[in-house]
Subunit: 171 residues, 2 copies
């Protein structure tokens, strides 16, 4: 098969994306580490739970919503549980599952941490985008997500999405 190399325009966009995503990940992690001793992923777990009914989610659903492997989530949840920010409970409707519940302490931690995090997201991203660009960013990213996890035959990796994996070397 002939390789469909990127055009010069696509190459420029791809490099800009890779640079921005690495810098942004680093900046978000640094800000949260300095202010609250946690990485962006830990923050995302707390934020995800805070918006769920009863501030609780099944581990599998939480992994899917965060787009990570269950083994990686298990690791993060264990540390947050040790810190008292959440607790795990058995799932009544599914013996295989287990449920993560945000504690009051975890909610308070999230509320203390959110303003600094949001300020960083604003300064790094949204302060520089017009309303049209905000919409463009959402459309482009939604397209990428659908390509990678869509249920259709065209999905690139639907058999092998992170949260469906039994084990994972990068977990």
């Amino acid at each position: 098969m002939t390789t469909r190399w990127l055009t010069p325009e696509e190459q420029r966009a791809w490099r800009a994306y890779i640079a921005a995503s690495l810098l942004l990940e680093d900046a978000l992690d640094r800000q949260l580490q300095q202010e609250a001793g946690m990485s962006h992923l830990y923050y995302s777990v707390l934020a995800g739970l805070s918006e769920a009914p009863d501030r609780s989610m099944r581990m599998t659903d939480l992994a899917e919503s965060l787009k990570i492997t269950r083994s990686r989530l298990t690791y993060v949840v264990a540390r947050l549980e040790k810190d008292g920010a959440l607790r795990r409970e058995g799932c009544a409707s599914d013996k295989r599952g287990s449920v993560a519940v945000l504690t009051d302490e975890g909610m308070a931690l999230l509320e203390r941490t959110a303003p600094g995090h949001v300020e960083m997201v604003r300064r790094a991203v949204f302060d520089h985008l017009g309303p049209e660009q905000v919409e463009q960013l959402e459309r482009i990213c939604t397209g990428i997500t659908e390509a990678l996890q869509g249920d259709g035959a065209e999905a690139v990796t639907s058999d092998d999405l992170p949260w469906r994996r039994r084990s994972c070397s990068s977990g």
Copy 2:
């Protein structure tokens, strides 16, 4: 200071970005691991060197171009050197520096690996974007990078960019 929370539109765009970037990182790593036993970062080191004059770069410049810490780069370069894909040489003009040079073996590895990687990038990203969206993606990402590493007073983290750090816990 009053927190400048994200608007609903910004929240949607931000969540779409986080989901897409996590899925994409995972898909790129998995494809490259399966085909060539290396993560996307290792591939990026080889690709970066392949485009430099004499296929060589100073470690500091390489870290800056990849937007990562020097300690993380040192780790990656050590493994690629062990595999024979590159070698390190002293830098004639700067005794503190050191230079990474892509070997013929490394170039051959890159050439074998590039078609599968580019196909994944196309299927995940560019097959779903029109020419206008490619340009939008580049503009948005360039704006984020400039916000995070610009030299002006408005730069968010210019004192603390990854490649300028002496040591780094996430290195």
